[in-house]
Amino acid sequence: MNDDTYIVPQDPWKNLTQFTPARIALGRAGNSLPTKASLEFLYAHAMARDAVNIPLDFAALEYRLDGLGYRSLMLETQAENHRLFLQRPDLGRLLSEPALACLQNIPQTHTDAVVVVSDGLSSMAIEHHAEPFLNLLLPELQAKGYALPPVCLVKHGRVAIGDAIAEHFGARLCIVLIGERPGLSSPDSMGIYFTYRARSGISTDADRNCISNIHQNGLGYGQALKKLLYLINESEKLQLSGINLKDETTDTALDSQRKQTNFLLD
């Protein structure tokens, strides 16, 4: 669908779109949004809604990880359905009875780190990014000699669900990959939350470090991995995570954008 330029005059500042992903210079039908822009918005919203609402195929993810040689466990939280998950974040931080029983059945051995993967607010993010990222991350963790239990795949989880799992295994490091709240332009954004000595019900956001915005037009897997490994190394030295652990890795792309000049004042 393309708008007839006779009815919908083009905004003459169209080429400012080179500077921002924002929806500028959309034109207007009368004073209103033209059909094309309106449909594009509906499309983006539909993608974001589906990212939230379509359930993640956990079995397929388990199968794919298995194919790469990584064992995993399927767990779920006390948010037993999607509606409850959205309305009760507290339940998404607690493991269900069957999940607890499943963990009890795993023989307890020394564990350094747990890797938890949860759908969170975007199943699409995990669908797209969990497997390729784990395929980079897990060899790095193994190369460090870390003892790892199977990757825990958690349905209807919030970030803090990792705390209970880390605590169960007596793990020092807790790494949670989770689907972030989808934006219109990034329905499949994945976040990584890292917590040192996570404790269920006690660790808060202030105790975590977050690497956010991992998707095709956001942070790449390599950059995300670099940041995470930096945080792991520093946290092992300082024996903490969260607000007192600063990510000092530089982001050259961001820096160069910030230094751009502003054409309105040139």
Partner: protein
């Protein structure tokens, strides 16, 4: 003990706080907190009991103890009993009737505002329908001034919100031009910085000052950093027009935001010490939203709408230019769907206006809420009919930094067209002078670049053509 007899049953409510929560129209946050009514009958029983509570009772029974909460102390110590006198004999139910009656004129509503507490206002809103909330809010008039006059009758202002994921100056400028050429930005040009640090804040402040001065725009700028960051910027003589801060209705919630009343006072004093205005000295910009106290686990057993109204007591102490309820930003665990968001937006606007605040509304939602553009059109239209002071203007309603959907420049034009609402007079004059709006405050028929922006924009276009 508060009682009511509904449907042959006696309902008891132990405290006023409990009664307020049970009388609240349903919303997910109150259930998350374990405070909402168990069923529809219990809710209506609470509403009956609440209607019989004398307004005076709110001065005797603090919902959060006076000793432990400075917001309660602010409310009680700041109460104006003379202003309260004309309505001091009323119950909550009578107060609703009074508000709807011809006795409640713009002048009387303005006069009683200092005599109202947030709890009284929250209570009456709980027994009002949407049309009641609209009708009464429409009678309120709150006018504030900095470089423009905001809140005059028949006017609707807009905050231009040119956010960019990395604060790129050219990216911000691109959205800013788009907004100005669509007639937005008289309430404030306000940027949410991607990173809340002094360096980024200073860079954006200087940039906005440069643009406002070069193009002689009768508006004010704001970088929505934490108040402590803005205070440091003021110390460095940065061009701070407005001090921004998110605020909440309990001391504990404000504590979780890293603020208290003294800090806000310090900020207001600091910014008032730097004269930058031409018309007035309303220098604060506050944002609020139902559920923020609960999300910090600092709601003190209060329902989220009463908590929100208490935030307005904090706001009014500092004579803000703008107060914005960011109603649907917080997510479905507090306001589940379009219906809950719409009601909350109208409640907040009503409560704020009745308490004498220049209330705007970020008509918005997130992608995990059960809401869509149709719901936003409902709230947008209704809140404009109610006389909302300002709304947001975000390119295409899609905030690419904060990842939520707000209202667009087109949305503001829609309201101007159907309701005949004009921007602030100073800004209106600027828009017309530069041939952006015609004399009926509509965009010029043909899209064009005004002379004012031609030199800069043509240079960019030239570069793009090469």
């Amino acid at each position: 003990m508060y009682k009511s007899h509904v449907s042959h049953l006696t309902h008891d409510f132990k405290t006023l706080r409990n009664l307020m929560a049970k009388a609240s129209p349903p919303r997910s946050g109150d259930y998350l907190a374990g405070l909402g009514a168990a069923n529809s009958l219990e809710r209506v029983a609470a509403q009956w009991a609440l209607a019989d509570v004398p307004l005076k009772q709110f001065l005797n029974e603090a919902l959060v103890p006076y000793e432990q909460d400075e917001v309660t102390r602010l409310i009680i110590d700041g109460h104006d009993s003379v202003a309260f006198q004309p309505i001091s004999h009323l119950t909550v139910g009578d107060f609703r009737n009074w508000l709807l009656s011809g006795q409640a004129t713009t002048a009387t509503l303005t006069a009683i505002a200092p005599g109202l507490t947030p709890e009284m206002v929250a209570a009456v809103s709980k027994i009002m329908r949407l049309q009641d909330l609209i009708l009464v809010a429409k009678k309120c008039r709150v006018i504030t001034r900095f470089r423009g006059t905001i809140g005059l009758e028949g006017r609707l202002s807009t905050r231009l919100q040119p956010n960019h994921p990395t604060d790129s100056p050219a990216g911000v400028a691109a959205s800013l031009v788009d907004g100005l050429l669509y007639g937005c930005g008289d309430a404030v040009i306000g940027i949410n910085p991607a990173s809340d640090n002094l360096e980024a804040t200073l860079r954006l402040l200087h940039m906005l000052r440069g643009i406002i001065e070069r193009y002689q725009i009768p508006t004010q700028s704001c970088v929505l950093s934490h108040v402590t960051t803005t205070l440091k910027a003021i110390e460095q003589d940065a061009p701070v027009d407005l001090v921004f801060q998110s605020i909440a209705g309990t001391q504990k919630a404000n504590d979780s935001f890293g603020i208290d009343l003294n800090l806000l006072q310090e900020a207001q004093d600091a910014v008032l010490g730097r004269e930058r205005g031409t018309l007035g000295n309303n220098r604060m910009y506050f944002e609020t939203g139902q559920g923020s106290a609960l999300s910090a686990n600092a709601h003190e057993g209060l329902d989220q709408q009463t908590c929100e109204a208490r935030a307005y007591a904090v706001a009014r102490k500092y004579e803000p230019l703008l107060v914005n309820t960011v109603v649907g930003f917080i997510g479905p665990e507090y306001l589940y769907d379009g219906k809950q968001i719409i009601r909350a937006g109208l409640e907040d606007h009503f409560c704020g206006k009745l308490l004498g605040l220049p209330m705007g509304c970020d008509v918005c939602y997130t992608n995990h809420a059960e809401a869509d553009q149709d719901d936003m059109d409902m709230l947008l239209t209704q809140i404009a009919v109610a006389g909302c002071t300002f709304i947001m203007g975000v390119p295409g309603a899609d905030d690419v930094m904060l990842n939520y959907q707000s209202t667009s420049f087109h949305d503001a034009l829609y309201l101007r067209q159907i309701l005949g609402l004009k921007p602030a007079p100073e800004f209106e004059q600027w828009l017309q002078k530069h041939q952006i709006f015609d004399d009926k405050n509509q965009l010029k028929q043909q899209a064009h670049i005004p002379e004012l922006f031609k030199p800069t924009l043509q240079k960019i276009m030239g570069e793009a053509d090469e």
